[in-house]
Symmetry: C2
Subunit: 466 residues, 2 copies
């Protein structure tokens, strides 16, 4: 039989990769916890009722649906055959498939909040780190199974939440050793721009066009908008808007002059409130500002696609690598309205773990210790000596040292090779001679330095070096 | 719209449950690591080629299959319709479904080893903690999505692996505070029994009958075997076999006398080798025995169903609760033969995390700290004071303390209630008066004790108490 492959767009994660990914996940998780966010886990499958219609027509097509079991029961065949015709027409039919794999973590979270609204202690801060599945065409950096890593707080209008989420971004990336910028904008500013350029009906149109700026460039954005019959005057406003530059303060002044309407001004007030926490301009202030003000950048060209955001929006970019956004999020008015529970606002962020992994790999940012599993290998040089090794090893393991005894008697060479391949830094050699003398040989594989140590001092010697 | 439910047999895990489950997972994972086992993760979906035919006919029916996307493309409709007729006949057809959700962690592991055999550093010790999915009829304690938690070492015949896996069981359950027994038997002993009772052809028959002993009792096992035309003499041997009792040594003596055949004797030798490591009978021995010998119990009625085991088999039971097995495993000759790579032996164990959770919940074994997220809540008593609170909180967070500032100005009552509901042990109260005096009020919600502390000493005061 030929060796079986993996489904397209899915991956195995071997030991080294899992350890590196866990380093990222653990760093993020513990920062979420420090800010009072609590873990939630939802099932991989949701009822299709929950999923369909939430991600647009394109999204619906990308949901993996699970075939109902037992379609070959005699009692079900006839209706299944008829129902399958619906599937062939592109319509869903519960007689064929009732469940799908989750497409993101937001809809399952909304479902959870809607269902448990009466038990939840609001504001509810939750984080969730789980895989999602999309039947997208696989390509470099795009997978059919990938992890999302989200934190949201719901049931609170306070902008301090936004401040804290920005701070989480800054701290996590500092801990990962990555140099980043958090770009922020406000949906009300985009709406205010539309108001000055044709009215509220133009918000989606203009937002979509601006969202493509990075990809297609200013000229094509202008072409697209002209096609949609924006007047030259309106086009001029948009162009001026997109050309706003300088430091945050200068940007706000220009924007304020360009779009004096109430919507925009209200967006500006929110941004100012948040930026004040990061201000470093006035060292005499009675309030100790948060570090990293130079990393929080107003970017009025930030749009975050056409999703459900209504307030502040965020995006994180790594400096010095051209990889796009490695995190994003924003504020929304109404998380659970789709599930019949209106009026629950919130704000959330997410981390793009696959891209963060790629950046860290490219810049060699993973600490050496992450790539190490077993700390000490005891060589196997015959039953008698191995028994002693086992005994000594057991005492090290009790203190939390990660150890192994080579599984069988073998040439030194073979055992050294095993240690090297597994990146084990230290080997302990106990053969017949050592058994007699009561002294173990220790070898550090990185330096090549060999030493001797009394059996009874092994614990101390090794734990000190670990 | 009505609130959407969850698919049958699946569960949400809220914050408290996730934390308790992670306590179990983390305890197991770190013990796996101490013994040199490395993490592996495989995708939720596998090609159906990989899964089908591996779990028997019943198993095949319980695999969740994923409907191919794009069946409504005009080019595919005709062939899909024809292919669906196969599904209705109970035959799989790739035109309808190519992928399924993994049913266990062993087959994905075997696929991984078969695919990567030339890169793997044998013996390969891997652990894997991931969900699996089965379209079983849901009932109390049986779910359609549940986590498996496995460790296997492949590429080694050494029985020291078995010793270490037993030791992992004992240490993990000791750390979890659970009183357990590890029962062990050997497949060669069951085969030896069959040899004495009708020949090798009877091995499956006798194993299956013995496996049901717990469920249906001795009389029904006898009925079943009599039905299969076992002679009274053969029945007598089986009955004697199942009545073997006493301590491990006594059991071995009785078994050895009852079944002197080579197969059984070879099984006995393996068991004796392993038991020697746990022997505590001779305190003068030159070898320091492993603790817990009284928890390692020979149980010749242990069968572990009809799976692929060929050597030692294990099962763990919790004492004092009637919940069945909470872990099991064994040695197999050939992990990857099904994938065209013969001759890779191994041994593995798994933990039944759902049942372990239930036992720990029933016996109240989860430590209090596991149930706590945020450690300190700062009250919000107006913008000015809250600014100071935020500043002080930020400095605590820097030291890894899990803190929150209540999200808006509110009555004390409301803020206390939030803290209580979230099980936050300490609150810090800073209002206008405290702002003036530079002293924060601290309240321990468990004891009700209130104290005052200078702003600048808050860090020290709180981290000491944490």
């Amino acid at each position: 039989m030929s060796k079986p492959g993996l489904p397209q767009g899915t991956r195995d994660f071997g030991p080294e990769t899992v350890r590196k990914r866990n380093f990222i996940f653990d760093t993020i998780r513990s920062e979420f916890e420090i800010y009072g966010y609590e873990p939630l886990e939802t099932p991989a499958m949701e009822n299709l009722d929950t999923l369909l219609g939430k991600y647009g027509e394109e999204g619906d097509k990308l949901i993996f649906k699970i075939l109902n079991n037992g379609l070959d029961h005699d009692s079900k065949k006839e209706s299944a055959r008829a129902a399958f015709e619906n599937i062939l027409k592109g319509k869903n039919d519960k007689a064929i498939t009732e469940r799908g794999l989750r497409y993101d973590l937001t809809i399952p979270f909304a479902r959870y909040v809607a269902t448990h609204q009466h038990e939840i202690n609001f504001p509810f801060r939750r984080y969730q780190v789980q895989p999602v599945w999309r039947a997208d065409r696989p390509q470099k950096g795009r997978y059919r199974e990938f992890y999302q890593c989200d934190a949201d707080v719901v049931g609170s209008h306070s902008l301090v939440n936004e401040v804290e989420l920005i701070q989480i971004y800054l701290t996590v990336f500092e801990k990962l050793g990555m140099d980043v910028e958090v770009r922020i904008n406000h949906r009300k500013i985009l709406a205010g721009l539309a108001e000055s350029c044709g009215g509220a009906g133009y918000t989606n149109l203009i937002t979509t066009a601006i969202d493509k700026l990075d990809k297609i460039g200013m000229e094509k954005v202008k072409d697209e908008l002209t096609e949609k019959k924006l007047t030259p005057l309106q086009m001029e406003i948009i162009e001026k808007y997109l050309h706003i530059e300088g430091n945050n303060e200068a940007k706000i002044q220009q924007l304020s002059a360009l779009l004096p309407n109430q919507l925009t001004q209200s967006g500006i007030r929110d941004l100012q409130y948040i930026l004040k926490f990061f201000g470093s301009e006035n060292p005499k202030a009675d309030f100790k500002y948060l570090p990293g003000s130079e990393k929080v950048i107003l970017d009025f060209s930030l749009a975050r696609g056409l999703n459900y955001y209504t307030g502040i929006i965020f995006e994180v970019r790594a400096k010095g690598v051209n990889i796009g956004s490695i995190g994003g999020g924003g504020r929304y008015d109404d998380l659970t309205g789709l599930f019949g529970v209106p009026g629950i606002p919130g704000v959330g962020i997410s981390f793009g773990v696959d891209r963060i992994y790629d950046v860290m790999e490219e810049l060699k940012l993973f600490p050496e210790t992450v790539q190490r599993s077993t700390q000490v290998l005891f060589f196997h040089l015959g039953e008698e000596a191995a028994k002693k090794s086992f005994e000594l090893m057991q005492s090290l393991r009790k203190e939390g040292m990660r150890c192994e005894l080579f599984h069988e008697q073998a040439k030194l060479d073979k055992q050294f090779k095993y240690a090297e391949k597994k990146n084990i830094p230290t080997v302990v050699i106990i053969g017949a001679d050592e058994l007699k003398s009561g002294m173990a040989k220790l070898k550090n594989l990185a330096t090549g330095i060999q030493s001797e140590i009394k059996f009874e001092n092994l614990n101390q010697g090794l734990t000190l070096n670990a």
